[in-house]
Amino acid sequence: MTAAIGPKRSLIARATDDRIVAGVALALAATAAALLAGGLSGYRVNTIGQFACFALLALALDLIWGYAGILSLGHGLFFAIGGYVVGMHLLEQSVAVTGITPDIVQFMGWTALPGWWAPLESFPVALAAALASSFAVAFAFGWASFRSRVSGVYFAIITQALVYVAMLLMFRNDTGFGGNNGMTGFQVVFGLPIQDPAVTKGLALASVLALLAALVGCRLLMIGRFGRLLVATRDDEVRLRSLGYETLRLKLAVWCLSAVLAALAGLLYVPQVGIINPRLLSPELSIEIAVWCAIGGRGRLAGAIIGAVLVNAIKFALSASLPELWPFVLSGLVIVVALIFPNGLLDLGRWRPTLWSRADALQPTDATP
């Protein structure tokens, strides 16, 4: 894609990007096929499913950061909205099918799940609720912020505060969503017991396919007129406005789309890990999402996916085997990417071992004031 590479890209480079996207899409399709074929252990299927959710989340962030130049450090909020709604759905369903009183009822001091959760027992309703509520929150916040032209670092900091506020709220038991413990003890997914290998496989497959669909869809959207206008917004918003475009609408549209995709990722993630709690709202997680994008390469959808998978793969592997090493690896990776591969690891092929200062000179800008 034209976007993040900055000023000195030839059109041939666009084609390369196309191939990377195609490669990633192919890899996703192959993964889906492998899942269908079976033979992978439950643990690996589950891991693939989780990675697909993370990748979808990163993809969502890349839409706004990579294309529209708006960095959100609060995307965990939308991820968590999806997660909480599906959590309520799973609890309702578990109670309906098994009749077992979940933990949350006990430690919240309830006698039953709140009445207003009842409609969420139906999955379509839950899906609609998750997408609608994330859209509503994104729209309200985005409209207010973009209207008063909050941008750049300000926007990043305010979104961080927003997700932090949400975390503090959800930590409170009184807020009504299980407090710090959140929701757990899901017994049933789509009528099947959660231990059933078919559930694990189905969820992983759904996640991979959702990611694939999002990749292809967003890619088509981004190489079209909408994508070009977003890039124009990122590079010079005042100019675009003075050409007669309401950039507020453009930004709001991509912001809401991104939020909805993040909510979808959360919705797929929670049944796979079996728990949702306010940790998903911690500012660190939201920063990490941006780190995935930065490492993979911004403004090029495929980069976000590669970054998310790569970082989480290392994290999973190291947390269990060489736990001491993980924070050093992560911070090292970010610093190296920031200094040497300004456009992420997808730049590997372009990199020559020159002096740092040269890389410096080639760096693009964030296109923020």
Partner: protein
């Protein structure tokens, strides 16, 4: 397409492929060669993040206990290998690492978690994989999973005796209570049960106050003002029941002392307070405040002396970054847990969870606390003794009171 671009394409798809394969390849990497005659135990204690200072030491205790068992010939002809991890005080990561350990590393049992929320995170994982989690902390009770062994005490057999003591003529005849807790399930549930308990004793609702603070909250000025004011209000002796956790504990105690409140004015019962929380505090002004656990370092008896010496030796040997002269309850509970598991596995003649679980009935172990701790077929709880500790000048706790024997654990609270 120019060669340059082709190279880029190959490299990037290569990177992608590596990214996709890594997670699949990683577990075998971790698994390392499974040597004949070893059995693995997994630890879920954080060595980074907010819980690191407390949980980190438990990794070493588990290893120490395993070494003891190995030195005595191992279990069922196998030697124990303890696999540690770092869930980084990140609750979902506990679940993830737990899942990995059970499914890929094939550990025979898990030992881990400090906060209730991390236990609740791991719970679905052990239930799905039919694993065993030994949980070494006292907690809010009201949970009874067949996949969790609750090595420490539920409130009915630890907190309530301590509160009883405070309300008795031997204590301070406490009439009023100020509950301050971190805002999460353990403090909330404990306080709910306490309120139920007090109601059952006919105490009016105006006799208590309840406040919650966020995790790692540190600015206790206003809250301590409120405590002072409430203490001087009419109605009898006030006691603070403190259920904040982590770094909030020392921050609260420091502010409390600085505002000139001593234990003779308003005693604090710090339910999660351990020696490690007093590090860095001038305890001269905190003498007399209380905690309550199933083990205190000052516990009498041979078993405790042996344990303390082993720990001091082990810290030196393993170069553990923790004080060799401090032992806290969760350390002993972890130590007990490893031994209980080994005894059960030996009794069952197997490492399989269902068999080991069956063998729990009738187990007993000479805990360093001086009590003989025991398990029954009824549930996965362990009966432990109860200590009330009193802060001394040396950043430690003296035993102010201890129970006659190890009371039978009551998992489900009858209050609230």
């Amino acid at each position: 397409m120019s060669p340059f671009d082709r190279r880029t394409f190959i490299k990037t798809t290569g990177a992608l492929a590596a990214g996709a394969i890594l997670p699949l390849a990683a577990p075998p990497l971790i698994q390392s060669a499974r040597a004949a005659g070893t059995v693995k135990l997994g630890c879920l204690f954080s060595s980074s993040g907010t819980m690191a200072n407390l949980e980190g030491r438990l990794n070493y205790v588990a290893k120490m206990a395993a070494d003891e068992i190995n030195a005595a010939g191992g279990v069922n002809g196998s030697t124990i290998e303890v696999v540690t991890s770092d869930p980084a005080s990140d609750w979902p990561l506990y679940a993830q690492v737990g899942r990995q350990m059970l499914a890929e590393t094939k550990v025979a049992a898990l030992f881990g978690c400090w906060t209730s929320v991390s236990r609740k995170s791991v719970l679905p994982v052990v239930e799905q994989n039919d694993g065993l989690l030994f949980y070494p902390l006292h907690f809010e009770g009201d949970e009874n999973s067949k996949n969790v062994v609750y090595v420490n005490s539920p409130p009915a057999s630890s907190v309530l005796p301590a509160v009883d003591y405070l309300m008795s003529p031997d204590g301070v005849e406490a009439k009023r209570f100020f509950m301050i807790g971190s805002d999460y399930v353990w403090p909330r549930t404990i306080n709910k049960q306490l309120k139920g308990y007090w109601k059952s004793k006919g105490i009016e609702e105006s006799a208590w106050k309840e406040e919650y603070v966020p995790f790692s909250f540190s600015n206790f000025q206003t809250l301590v003002n409120q405590v002072r004011s409430f203490a001087d209000a009419p109605g009898g002796k006030l006691v603070v029941v403190l259920t904040v956790v982590g770094s909030s504990i020392p921050d609260f105690m420091r502010e409390f002392a600085n505002q000139g409140i001593s234990s003779s004015d308003v005693p604090v019962l710090g339910l999660d307070m351990v020696e490690a929380d007093l590090e860095g505090l001038d305890t001269q002004k905190l003498v007399g405040h209380l905690n309550c656990w199933a083990y205190l370092q000052q516990a009498k008896g041979e078993a405790n002396q042996t344990f303390l010496k082993s720990w001091a030796d082990y810290v030196g040997k393993a170069k553990a970054p923790f004080r060799p002269d401090v032992a806290i309850d969760p350390m002993v509970s972890t130590y007990d847990a490893v031994h209980l598991w080994a005894m059960a596995a030996k009794k069952a003649g197997s490492f399989a969870t269902p068999e080991v679980r069956k063998a729990f009935d009738g187990l007993s172990f000479d805990c360093p606390s001086g009590y003989k701790i025991a398990m029954t077929a009824e549930n996965n709880y362990v009966s432990r003794g109860v200590f009330i500790g009193s802060v001394n000048e040396k950043q430690g706790f003296d035993v102010l009171w201890q129970s006659k024997d190890a009371p039978k654990p009551v998992p489900m609270s009858q209050y609230g």
